[in-house]
């Protein structure tokens, strides 16, 4: 029986996640004394060093919080600056930004599902041996990733840290032929995504059977499956405007993590693809719904491991959304628009976007000269850390009851952390000014 069991698990620098984190579990006499995910990434202090910078530079700096989430930070940053300075954007600019978000979401989800999660489901150490055992799967993954990067590059000038999106403007437009060729590839990609659904379904029995209901927080809008814009929506308390984000997030510093933790109506909440699909399932487009149906996904789903499944559903959704966005851009005709003449003024702006890992908030205050005097960023991964700890604390005793050995428990916990797709680089880059008070 498990009641007399002692066990100590310490996974140092967990592999196949973005950034540095350790899993630490201590069990004494069959009782879990500690089950935590320690974030040991070096702190980077972005909010401190964005102070004193000009509004034209803020997005250049904050997009470098994370290479994978770069377009998400970039667009959130621009929306925040535009809200502070009262800058309007044109419909064309908004459509191009939405297309960029589609590409960035596909990029990040494909990387996560195929390169970081799939090896566990196939019982491999990485995608490298899979290249020999399942070459078609790996080639399909590379094809999808390549398309996603090309969307970002064609819209934003570079796949990572693109430069075309600036406050109030897009410095250079894609060409009609570039967009047409992307569209053709995206139509083909829908078939690759059908195959992706089948591939993951075939190994879905390897996904641990663990459910824990929690609070799910995401954007929600009345028009669409909210990525670019919307209100904050909690599965516990409903909708609230983005300006109230501090009441939703309640960041605090904890000793075992250079990333801050958050909570709202319970001790923890979840953000990301599963939270979005749980809150916005009714807003999925046809391709998204088809994928959800194929998986038998019906909101609400309380198994955190299903975050990866929700990501595949979203891949189908964003590819169809991207095709429709290109049709709108081509339908109205691409037009060179004049560079806006922006006059700096003092003010505070708050911006929020759904980025691959969940809801992201930026909050800047500018002075009369358009120089940042205060900044705050709350990153999706931080918002998930407390939820990961709560999952572990509930799941580990169940594993002990089932008499799982140390290897099996360790693997299940590694898979749990990976399922959240933590972006640890992102998570250690903020600060909350209110802690000084």
């Amino acid at each position: 029986m498990s009641t007399t069991k002692d066990m100590s698990i310490n996974v140092h620098h967990l592999t196949r996640v973005e950034g540095h984190g350790d899993i630490v579990v201590n069990i004494k006499d069959g009782v879990v004394e500690e089950a935590k995910f320690h974030v040991v990434e070096s702190p980077r202090f972005f909010e401190a060093f964005v102070r004193g910078r000009h509004f034209t530079e803020t997005a250049w700096i904050t997009c470098r919080i994370c290479g994978i989430c770069s377009p998400g930070h970039q667009i959130t940053s621009l929306k925040t600056t535009e809200s502070a300075l009262g800058i309007e954007i044109t419909e064309q600019t908004r459509l191009l930004r939405e297309l960029l978000i589609d590409g960035a979401t596909l990029q990040s989800h494909i990387l996560h599902v195929y390169f970081l999660v799939a090896p566990d489901l196939f019982g491999a150490s990485s995608v490298i041996p899979l290249a020999e055992t399942n070459p078609d799967v790996v080639k399909r993954a590379l094809r999808l990733k390549n398309l996603a990067n090309d969307i970002c590059e064609i819209v934003n000038g570079n796949a990572v840290h693109g430069m075309r999106m600036v406050p109030g403007w897009v410095t250079k437009l894609p060409t009609v032929s570039e967009l047409k060729s992307l569209r053709e590839r995206m139509v083909e990609a829908l078939k690759d995504l059908d195959a992706t659904v089948e591939t993951i379904k075939a190994v879905a029995d390897k996904i641990p059977d663990f459910t824990r209901e929690t609070e799910y927080i995401s954007l929600r809008s009345k028009d669409d499956f909210a990525f670019y814009d919307g209100d904050i929506f909690s599965s516990d308390t409903g909708a609230t405007p983005v300006d109230n984000y501090l009441e939703m997030t309640n960041e605090k510093v904890v000793r075992h993590s250079t990333a801050k933790h958050t909570h709202h109506s319970r001790s923890s909440y979840m953000v990301g693809a599963l939270a979005r699909c749980n809150n916005n399932e009714d807003r999925l487009n046809e391709a998204g719904q088809k994928a959800a149906k194929a998986f038998g996904f019906k909101a609400p789903v309380y198994n955190p491991y299903f975050n990866s499944v929700a990501q595949v559903i979203e891949c189908a959704h964003v590819v169809q959304h991207g095709i429709e966005t290109i049709d709108k851009l081509l339908g109205r005709g691409l037009k060179e628009e004049p560079k806006p003449n922006i006059k700096p003024k003092a003010g505070r702006g708050i911006g929020s976007t759904e980025v691959p890992r969940g809801i992201l908030f930026h909050d800047y205050t500018y002075d009369d000269n358009g120089i940042v005097v205060d900044a705050n960023c709350i990153i999706p991964t931080n918002q998930n850390f407390a939820n990961i700890d709560d999952d572990m604390n509930e799941f580990v005793p169940k594993m002990l009851d089932m008499d799982w050995d140390k290897d099996k428990i360790t693997l299940a916990l590694e898979m749990l952390v990976r399922a959240y797709d933590p972006c640890i680089s992102c998570s250690v880059h903020y600060l909350n000014v209110s802690f000084k008070d």
Binding site: F49, P119, M163
Partner: protein, 246 residues
Amino acid sequence: MKPKVAFFDFTGCEGCQLQKLNCENELLDILQHVEIVNFREATSVRRDDYDIAFVEGSISTPKDVNRIQEIRKNAKILVTLGACASTGGLNKLKNFQPLNEVREYVYGDKAGYFDTLPVMAVDEVVRVDYKIHGCPMDKKDFMNILKALVMGSKPYTPDFPVCVECKRKGNVCRYELGEICLGPITRAGCDARCPSNNVGCTGCRGLAENPNVKEATEVMEKYGLKRDDILRRYRLFYGYWQEVTR
């Protein structure tokens, strides 16, 4: 025998690691010619018997210092990937503010929980054999250096300024449009990517060889740009070069 290759990341955004994975068309071929023995982001295999270590990110904590010294001991060749590792990059912005103040601003009265040092490029701590510049690094630079190392030849890094590539592309000079551009003093190799996208060079590859910073500053001032704004732009990615930025 295939050379054994390892990838390590320190303080940074992992965008350069991503650029590597973005070589979708070449990845499967690369695996024919090297053996990857350590790449935390992509595989759970971890060994320390590598020939070539690729290092991303800056050195910014006491633990980082120990870890990079270990890697240097194990590796025959050490290559830095991207601005954070090669010059300290954007992370060096932190060094312009007092360290304690930065920590308190971010972590409040819990600042003492977390160690941090002034940000250093990798070559401020250990010897570096080759550097790939840029934020992010360019896929093409990575492929070139990898090919050269596998073939046993010496990789080539341009040392002339971005202006050379920009002129070749026939771009209108950003100065004529009243914008700051660091093309005259920044190391080339990006094919003038930012100016070609109608954005002035931000200097992400660091300084070119023998940059005439004084002259570049004066030229920008002649075009009506303000010294404070120019200096602020220098600090974005030239934080490692004190004469320019302090």
